[in-house]
């Protein structure tokens, strides 16, 4: 089977008209990662995920960036990035400033889209760092060198590329030194502080935002008020919002960077009509959307150059080429009913696109099967309609307190849908925000989208078997034993996607070895084999199946399974190998061929020739 990303990952019946799921590349980003490479970054450590192991701050910063580079190349490959170390022994930068080293690989500008090679070499940076770049404190008391100043200057020069209108420009600064000029004499310190801040301000005036990712010592918090609050331009209100606890653990840091790297993008502006005469303004964000491998670009197999695809509509009667828009027909009552494209879109256009409140229900009315597609996150905005946030927060609080959700009609999708608006309170952990406060809009199915499967499986007048108290008790024990510790939604990477990108990377770099990707979604075998777990499962099994686990009682076998059995029996009827040798497989019927395929766990799809070939290949092995 060909791995066709459109097929493999596509929802079975995705609506191509619905562009809601396709994130538009609204703008691109220019990002410079500034990494402090002073000796302090190497000797400060903090505990890693694996117990008993300490990791240096430098390692934390570098692995964070490595991860975010991968995110860039996968999701936002138009972004341009640069990596720049400061407090280095060697120097490499256009301005030829001491202590600043711009890391790059061949065939790439200093600031450019990330390439496979960049990612690969950056992954190995720690091994070669000492030899190639070296760490050296740049700011020492008796010199006038200011490596932080130089770094900001280099970064700003890099970010000169690109127009502000179409791009966001950002610097991410990784450091564990909260007082870079602390060791200086007062007069020099003041001077250096002033020039450095001015440098930062110049950059900000050019529309570049500077973001700080501070790393704290285990025994000493990173004190942002000493110097950096002025550098990144925080005022006292925002200071409380800034999370100084960041940087205790590698995971927290990665989390932080992941959250900050992707610029927030509004999927939709929505007008929420609460009642006649009162509408507020909301922004809708697509926080959850299935990630899929990028689209296929067809290439000429001899030159590997992209192929241009031209689509044409041809009338089968005359061979004439048809021009858009083409009429549509629906056969109905022995005639072909014609629709123009315009008429069809009129049919679908039944609403204004607003979100209209209809009323409220208790949360228990929202069933687990009331779902169709990923939800949309709503957060208020006072940008256009002042007072929106206040009304939103009031409703949000009331719904949480009264355990109710709102039912509304949303005209912004095709077709318009009934939606459930479920208020979500903010959830925070050490690493920062886990769930943002706001309302999640859940798209509800219509009556005809819901299928009555339960009815299919009920046997009138015959009571369905129900678990006994003992069985329930055993199930309860089993569930306690198999409790997932610290489970969080979306903790797993998508193994198919990971593999896909590993393949791309290997081919892009001409490597023979495929980077090992781990399938995190497999059950934890070690845990499952713990004696207590095995025992609980065994007891549950015993309570259900009794002593003889293989005896499944058949309460009225279905036709289907009978058919399968018959198939199995047929298997012995022919000597397929013999038939294959004499070329007589073609004399068998498709059903008979399929019997062989089914018995050998092979695909049964395709035409007869395909089936025969498949059998031949299988026998050949």
């Amino acid at each position: 089977m060909e791995l066709d990303p459109d097929d493999v990952f596509r929802d079975e019946d995705e609506d191509p008209e619905n562009d809601f799921f396709q994130e538009k590349e609204a703008s691109k980003e220019f990002v410079v990662y500034l990494i402090d490479a002073s000796p302090k970054m190497f000797c400060s450590t903090c505990p890693s995920e694996e117990e008993d192991k300490q990791e240096s701050h430098f390692h934390i910063a570098v692995s964070c960036i490595a991860q975010s580079l991968k995110a860039h190349i996968i999701n936002r490959s138009n972004d341009e990035i640069a990596i720049c170390f400061f407090n280095t022994r060697e120097k490499k930068n256009l301005q030829d400033l001491n202590g600043v080293y711009v890391f790059n690989v061949p065939e790439r500008d200093s600031i450019d889209r990330p390439t496979a090679r960049l990612i690969k070499e950056f992954d190995l940076i720690e091994e070669s760092f000492d030899k190639e770049i070296g760490s050296q404190t740049g700011i020492v008391s008796d010199s006038r060198e200011n490596s932080l100043y130089s770094a900001l200057w280099v970064a700003q020069a890099l970010l000169r590329k690109g127009s502000l209108k179409t791009a966001d420009k950002r610097m991410f600064l990784f450091t564990n030194e909260d007082d870079p000029f602390g060791s200086m004499r007062i007069s020099v310190k003041e001077d250096m502080t002033r020039t450095t801040l001015q440098r930062a301000k110049d950059a900000q005036d050019l529309g570049i935002s500077i973001e700080l990712l501070p790393l704290s010592q285990p025994d000493k918090q990173f004190n942002i008020t000493l110097f950096y609050k002025d550098l990144i331009g925080l005022n006292s209100d925002e200071l409380t919002e800034f999370m100084p606890s960041v940087g205790q653990k590698l995971e927290d840091m990665k989390d932080q960077l992941k959250k900050r790297v992707l610029a927030k993008r509004i999927a939709k502006r929505i007008t929420f009509v609460i009642c006649d005469g009162l509408s507020i303004e909301l922004n809708g964000y697509a926080l959850l959307r299935p990630a899929i491998p990028g689209s296929i670009t067809w290439l000429d197999s001899t030159t590997n150059l992209p192929v241009k695809v031209e689509r044409s509509y041809i009338c089968t009667d005359t061979g004439a080429i048809m021009q858009d828009p083409i009429q549509r027909i629906q056969p109905y009552k022995n005639q072909n009913i014609m629709f123009t494209v315009e008429e069809l879109s009129q049919v679908k256009r039944i609403s204004t696109g607003h979100l209209r409140l209809l009323g409220f229900k208790p949360l228990s009315c929202l069933k687990d099967y009331h779902n169709l597609k990923p939800s949309t996150f709503l957060y208020p905005s006072d940008k256009e309609v002042i007072g929106s946030t206040r009304a939103f927060i009031a409703l949000h609080r009331s719904m949480i307190q009264l355990e109710r959700f709102a039912v509304a009609f949303y005209g912004g999708t095709t077709p318009p849908r009934l939606v459930a608006l479920v208020a979500q309170d903010e959830i925070e952990s050490d690493g920062g925000q886990v769930e943002p406060p706001g309302i999640n809009m859940i798209y509800l199915p219509y009556a005809n989208d819901i299928r009555d499967i339960d009815e299919l499986h009920s046997k009138p007048g015959v009571a369905a078997p129900r678990a006994s108290d003992d069985q329930l008790k055993k199930a309860s024990a089993l569930m306690r034993r198999l409790e997932l510790k610290d489970f969080s939604v979306c903790q797993f990477a998508n193994p198919a996607l990971q593999r896909h990108y590993a393949i791309l990377q290997a081919i892009a770099l001409d490597e023979n070895e495929l980077r090992e990707t781990r399938d995190e979604t497999l059950p934890d075998e070690e845990g499952m084999n713990r004696p207590a777990v095995v025992k609980a499962i065994e007891q549950f099994k015993q309570s259900i199946y009794g002593d003889d686990p293989d005896e499944e009682s058949e309460s009225g076998a279905k036709e289907k399974s009978k058919k399968r059995k018959a198939g199995d029996a047929d298997d012995g009827k022919y000597d397929y190998i013999e038939l294959a040798k004499t070329g007589k497989l073609k004399d068998l019927t498709v059903v008979e061929l399929k019997t062989y395929l089914t018995a050998n766990n092979l695909l049964v799809s395709g035409k007869k020739e395909v089936l025969i070939n498949r059998i031949l290949t299988h026998i050949g092995k």
Binding site: H354, P416, V489
Partner: protein
């Protein structure tokens, strides 16, 4: 009757008590038959009505009784006539007996199909079940119903009852209703029968499953607790979006004389090396490439085959977790249902034990699933319990897909607590909001819940089929306005709103909103949505382009903003032209109807002038202004003329737009002329 066909008898109550809802019954049934004509055109349909003055059924003829039950149509393949029949149901005059009608329907099904086609025979009863049933000749009604139900079960006839009760005026009825409801539940416990209670025309439309889809399992195999403990399960889709039928493209190129023309359109793809070249390469000379950063990486099918992620079919349990750990908005897709293999009693028990215990302790299970062998990806999802309320239905699980790490975008949002206090509600405002959330109640009790997704029809589909039907009668039929029944879905229930009028008014008063004055024109569109009721339905349905805030018409309400937004649209070249034309028309309208509202017209003229200068269309404006001026003179609208003078509107001279043939000095001529005229 072939394997995948259904025999259906509609048993419809047309008695006097049903009269008010009969149009909706007609709509629902007509939709059902329309869809059969498209999707299941070999299905067979019979129609029985009861509550009619006359009697016309075979049982009455053979053995007597069964009065006021009329067979409108015997069971046969669905056709246009059937669709016509249900659209013109007779209006009955007597209170009918639904038991009699059901027996007639059942008799038809048995006579037609005998004992064959189990499970493919269905009766659908629509009634208000508010009229008394007759006592049987022997035994009690309960016995009688049980016998009928058992017979139905034995014959494999399914039954669906839709009981429509809106504002029943029944004090005397109460006992009858109670008895009838009891009888209907007897059907459910003895046969495959379900009863749906509906209370509004909207849910009546939604209650009838109009599209018959043969359920297909997505997966049959093991739910693996560990390698030694496996439960046999089947997985179906519980929710799947019903879409408009896929319409074929039609070619009208064939000459009308060609009787054998197929009128089909073929889509052809050409692969070219470059856009300019005419050289076309064969499909097999192509190779797939994937974007990776700036590069496109070619991958051969062999490479894919050897390297791709490989999976084995199966459902594997990862463990259990607190239900509160899985927030509702993480559900990613349509929902599946996991039912135990009906032939495996132990599996039914195992699912029952786990599902019930999950419900009891508020736990859910996390599972990893591969539905087909060799499928290129895996899904991780959550099983939640679906403990059956019916004795004869096995317990099962719902399955929802959860996101992978790559699917999540974690943007930080400001805490509400940290927002400035002017953005937060005060105590009094909070109390007002609490009150609204409490009182604007759609589910006062479980029975009274309205707008249940399970009973809410899709308005777009309804409109499409209605239009299809109209078009089948007349090719140039126009699109009908949205069915009024759907107002209840698209707008607040007026009854609910008016009952809570004071609460709504307080809410409106407490939460004042206003447009941000700093923002300019085009973006100021939000508050403009007029309260419902004030504009007529057709307008509201179609004026706004739902997708974008793009303006395509200069409306009466905010003509200047509309005009400015429209003239600056760049997605098509003719917007400028359109905007100018529409603005002119609007000004003419304002001038013609004008009494003392010259100001508005004047502002519009100024806006038009500005737009024409910006777009360098001086002629358009100058000609129009001359025309307008003449019109004012003819009608002697002197107050307007004066207005015009005072605001000093001039023609657009050369200095403002190069194309103009008016020199600067003459730009004021227009006014000079006017003044001289006034003097004379």
């Amino acid at each position: 009757m072939a394997r995948n066909r259904e025999g259906l008898v509609l048993v419809l109550d047309v008695g006097p008590a049903m009269r008010s809802v009969l149009p909706d019954v007609e709509k629902a049934c007509s939709m059902l038959l329309q869809k059969k004509l498209i999707y299941n055109k070999y299905d067979e349909v019979g129609i029985v009505v009861f509550g009619t003055e006359e009697t016309g059924n075979e049982l009455a003829r053979e053995i007597g009784g069964y009065e006021n039950v009329t067979v409108l149509r015997n069971i046969r393949v669905v056709d246009e006539l059937a669709a016509e029949h249900v659209k013109q149901l007779p209006r009955g005059t007597v209170a009918g007996d639904f038991l009699d009608a059901l027996i007639v329907g059942m008799d038809m099904l048995i006579k037609m199909y005998g004992n064959a086609h189990k499970g493919k025979k269905r009766m659908c009863l629509i009634t208000n079940a508010a009229c008394p049933t007759k006592d049987p000749f022997e035994g009690t009604k309960d016995d009688q119903v049980s016998t009928i139900a058992m017979k139905m079960a034995a014959e494999g006839i399914k039954m669906e009852s839709i009981v429509m009760r809106s504002n029943l005026s029944g004090d005397a009825h109460e006992r009858v209703i109670e008895e009838n409801d009891h009888l209907l539940t007897l059907f459910s416990s003895n046969a495959i029968a379900k009863t749906v209670n509906v209370d509004s025309p909207l849910s009546l439309l939604g209650s009838l499953k109009t599209r018959r889809v043969a359920p297909v399992t997505l997966f049959r195999g093991d739910l693996e607790i560990n390698p030694t403990m496996k439960i046999k399960v089947w997985v179906y889709k519980k929710v799947a979006e019903e879409r408009l039928p896929t319409l074929k493209m039609y070619s009208d190129k064939a000459p009308p004389t060609d009787k054998f023309a197929k009128h089909e359109v073929k889509v052809d793809y050409d692969y070219k090396v470059t856009a300019e070249s005419t050289e076309v390469i064969a499909p097999e000379e192509r190779i797939k490439g994937f974007r990776y950063g700036p590069q496109v990486i070619p991958i051969s099918p062999d490479q894919i085959e050897t390297l791709k992620f490989k999976t084995d079919k199966g459902m594997k349990l990862l463990g259990f977790t607190e239900a509160s750990n899985i927030l509702r908005h993480y559900y990613m897709k349509d929902v599946n249902i996991v039912v135990p293999d009906p032939s495996k009693e132990k599996s039914v028990l195992a699912v029952s034990a786990i599902a019930r215990e999950m419900k009891e302790t508020n736990k859910v299970a996390i599972v990893r699933c591969v539905w087909r062998n060799g499928q290129g990806n895996v899904v991780v999802g959550v099983l939640t319990p679906n403990v059956s309320e019916r004795d004869d239905t096995p317990d099962s699980f719902y399955f929802n897909v959860l996101p992978f790490a790559e699917d999540v975008r974690e943007f930080p949002f400001p805490s509400f607590n940290k927002l400035p206090s002017s953005w937060k509600p005060d105590e009094q405002q909070q109390a007002v909001a609490d009150n609204l959330v409490k009182m604007l109640d759609l589910a006062p009790s479980a029975e009274e819940e309205v707008l249940k997704p399970d009973l809410t029809p899709n308005p777009v589909l309804q409109r499409f089929y209605e239009y299809l039907e109209l078009k089948s009668k007349s090719t140039d039929a126009t699109l009908p306005p949205m069915d009024g029944t759907f107002k209840r879905l698209m707008e607040q229930d007026p009854e609910l709103s008016s009952n809570n009028k004071s609460i709504m008014d307080t809410f409106r008063g407490s939460f004042e909103v206003k447009e941000n004055p700093k923002l300019k024109k085009a973006s100021k569109r939000l508050l403009r949505d007029k309260p419902s009721g004030s504009d007529d339905e057709d307008n509201r349905m179609i004026t706004y382009d739902a997708k974008e805030n793009k303006i395509d018409i200069v409306g009466d309400a905010n003509p200047i903003q509309d005009f400015e937004a429209m003239i600056s649209r760049r997605d098509k070249t003719d917007w400028t032209e359109k905007a100018i034309t529409q603005m002119k028309n609007l000004i003419m309208k304002l001038v013609e109807n004008c009494t003392d509202e010259g100001d508005k017209a004047l502002e519009c003229v100024l806006a038009l002038r500005k737009g024409c200068v910006l777009e360098q269309e001086p002629k358009q404006f100058n000609e129009f202004l001359n025309h307008l001026f003449k019109l004012c003179q003819e009608r002697n609208l002197s107050h307007l003329l004066e207005h015009f003078t005072s605001k000093k509107i001039t023609l657009i001279p050369k200095s403002e737009a190069a194309d103009s043939d008016i020199v600067d000095e003459n730009a004021g001529d227009f006014i000079v002329k006017q003044e001289s005229m006034l003097e004379s």
